[in-house]
Symmetry: C2
């Protein structure tokens, strides 16, 4: 619970620099963390009444709190906890949306060590409740963002847990994932991909009639 | 952002005693905070594959982090932030669920000062995206839990903002809210009420055919 992994070549979306009080504000796309990009598109979705999707706060284990004044609590000892779910969730057109977002500077692959088993379990559980859950991965060297649906992520994860793979290749994202429009305003417009997924789902339902 | 309100007669579901390191574990219903009760029923829902609903972590503004060891980050200065959304959200039968949970020892009414304007705005925004959003209030003196749907909460909130009311009377919860089964296992079985709401919704849809 106490260990907080800073993985080589991986910039976790949690915690952001901003949370360390080292604000690195950059309103252009370059220099923005992937997390900041997603928070920006979520703000746009909210302001446009497209969707209500928020980042969950970083889970923290509070150990000590001081009360220098009656109304002001200062946390003086706390630790980062391993998140038990994903970073982002919300609602879009009545559909529950849930995803984890990761960025890698690796060119060839996304190392699966950057996901937690309970995060993948959570993604699968959401799918069983008919929510739309997925992984968003940004390959920053190419400025490419891929959406990997839950079922495909689960297949790769099973192989990872059996020791058959350590990562998901960029080539596999190209084949099995969906490229998220990123050169538009807003950038990382992932709801466009959700629209495609929901449309396919509706077509399937219609075929079943 | 820094002030953390400890209201008289109100036990906010955030933060729990557990987070202050003062664990007050009690596996009976008595002595359990309302938040702990809800977390328990959510665990039951998850284990039974009924629903995936989690409490969001308490939002915290981190100011200072020490790294005594490479792998261990210790937060040495942080503050509670005002939550911008609600405490709980998730998915049930494909429906997005979102709610705020509050407990009061007041016998006559629930003071609206315990909700934030942006929480109510969030609840309304969720409803517009066809999510099911509501307020759960426990009157601990009576061991009663009421579910107040978003539309009704919004009506009361409008009156509060216009200075026409300061609280919601218990009598109003009895008339306009829905009593949550609480003497069952699991206690605070709020999905039972959601089932009723969804059924009414379906009947309405059928009438429209």
């Amino acid at each position: 619970m106490i260990k907080y992994p800073y993985k080589k070549n991986i910039q976790s979306s949690l915690p952001s620099h901003a949370e360390n009080g080292q604000k690195d504000v950059n309103f252009g796309k370059r220099g923005m963390t992937f997390e900041a990009q997603i928070e920006k598109v979520n703000k746009y979705y909210l302001a446009s009444n497209f969707a209500v999707i928020h980042k969950k706060p970083t889970p923290i284990q509070i150990v000590k709190v001081d009360y220098p004044k009656r109304t002001q609590a200062t946390i003086t000892q706390a630790y980062f906890k391993t998140p038990s779910t994903t970073d982002f969730n919300g609602v879009y057109k009545g559909v529950y949306i849930d995803f984890e977002a990761k960025e890698t500077t690796n060119k060839g692959s996304f190392p699966l060590v950057n996901l937690h088993a309970h995060q993948v379990r959570h993604i699968i559980a959401v799918t069983k409740q008919k929510g739309v859950a997925f992984l968003l991965v940004k390959f920053s060297a190419f400025d490419e963002v891929y959406l990997l649906p839950a079922t495909i992520l689960n297949k790769f994860w099973q192989e990872y847990e059996k020791g058959m793979r350590k990562s998901i290749k960029r080539a596999e994202f190209i084949v099995s994932g969906l490229l998220v429009p990123n050169n538009t305003y807003p950038s990382v417009d992932y709801l466009k991909i959700i629209d495609q997924l929901l449309e396919n789902e509706n077509l399937k339902l219609k075929d079943g009639c």
